[in-house]
Subunit: 291 residues, 2 copies
Amino acid sequence: MKIGFIGLGIMGKPMAKNLLTAGFSVKVFNRSKDSVKELVSLGAIEGKSIADTAKDVDVLITMLPDSPDVKEVMLGKDGVFENTQGHFLYIDMSSIAPRASQEIGKKLLEKDIHMLDAPVSGGDVGAIAGTLSIMVGGEEEDFNKAIPLFEAMGKSHTLIGKLGSGNTCKLTNNLIVAASMAALAEGLVLAKKTGTDMTKVIEAIRGGSAGSNVVDTKSKKMIEETYIPGFKIDLHIKDLRNALKTGEEVNSYMPLTKLTLEMLESLSRDFKMGNDDHTAVYKYYLSRSED
Amino acid sequence: MKIGFIGLGIMGKPMAKNLLTAGFSVKVFNRSKDSVKELVSLGAIEGKSIADTAKDVDVLITMLPDSPDVKEVMLGKDGVFENTQGHFLYIDMSSIAPRASQEIGKKLLEKDIHMLDAPVSGGDVGAIAGTLSIMVGGEEEDFNKAIPLFEAMGKSHTLIGKLGSGNTCKLTNNLIVAASMAALAEGLVLAKKTGTDMTKVIEAIRGGSAGSNVVDTKSKKMIEETYIPGFKIDLHIKDLRNALKTGEEVNSYMPLTKLTLEMLESLSRDFKMGNDDHTAVYKYYLSRSED
């Protein structure tokens, strides 16, 4: 199976590597060329341009920051759609707005390009280890074709529903994570301010009804105030904005998403912490709790 | 060891039973006498009054609804303090305000009554099974004396710190649970409104960063809209109010607690659902998301 892969960032580069390791032929493209060189040294073919990377492939994959990037690469003047014969499977693994996935997918069908939206969770650690959770929207037939690729990159892949629902699922995931993170910070700061041992509190509650992956993996980072990413605040902001936009389209009540977005936006804007880990929401709580 | 036990509600009754089963001598008191009869048939002694129940005990335990109830029983005119020789260990296992625990404990010391605050999590299911998580505040020496009792009622017991910190820990637990519950509802309603299969979304996210005990145990109840308690909304309201009160005393920033309290208060007041399970926050979200 011949694969084109566009976007070799923190996530895309290890994902493309895992496809190579699994024995697929992979042609790669990235704006910054260091990643391209690294992948070529591992057996990848260098795409000369976006259009060239999408030429004669069975499957094209993109892993890009946000909706406008995916639109530009796929539908822009020098993009895939304008310069292809079509007839292949396109998998967008970026985390973007569900509506954007649907719009792009509809346009691509004119050249018989079938699209799946397949955002992932698990971060760079999961991307490197090939243990991502992959949430997929699209047609079942297309999903089945993509399974060997998903198996090379992830530990699980779930077909949620029609195109866009992979991203809806990801937004749900990330709004729950944002609120869980803020709740943990709110509880820890209450403990701290009352002079209660935060580590003991976590020890006492982690096995019970308040237990979660966020409590298990993030409380130590908060208590120690180390905010090395992990998951960057600016990327979480993007997801929460997409979640709110999606919620507005369908009139969904989203006060926690609004509130946690404001916290992260303040950290990015006022604290210049956009590139720090989202656990820094604890710092935001501390700053709002000063006597 | 001779134990007095006051408060045989949904939680207190099975907890007292487990003490009997473990071989302790237990004298019980409750306003409604059906529970008393049941316990007596299992070998408990009937306390004639609050004062009588606290007479000649090594340990007195209370399991009552809120701070005013504990104050009344311990410090009221017909209560324990006014009618006792003192010199015993007192364990309040109610979930009350940390400040109230500290005030009561300070007064009781005048008669050499040592107090532990030891609220529990795990619900009626955990109380019956003897698998409660017990969060304890007080002196280590007193905690050590109480361990055989905690072992009869719970699966874990953690000394958090000084008197009141058991309740601070419990409030932290319950504010995290409230926010996690609302976040789950917010995510599910977004999925529902966009026409996304909620069960598939849960399946895809539960093993990842958004995974939690709340997601595991509460999402099905929300999706099926069954709100049988479980944990009653009015009791969760009490905990969140105590959390906010505690937060105000120490100037702790608690916007999620405020927001989720408003949701639960509306369910109790406007929807008359105070006796339903707190998963009904999903219903609140649905009602706020109508077109």
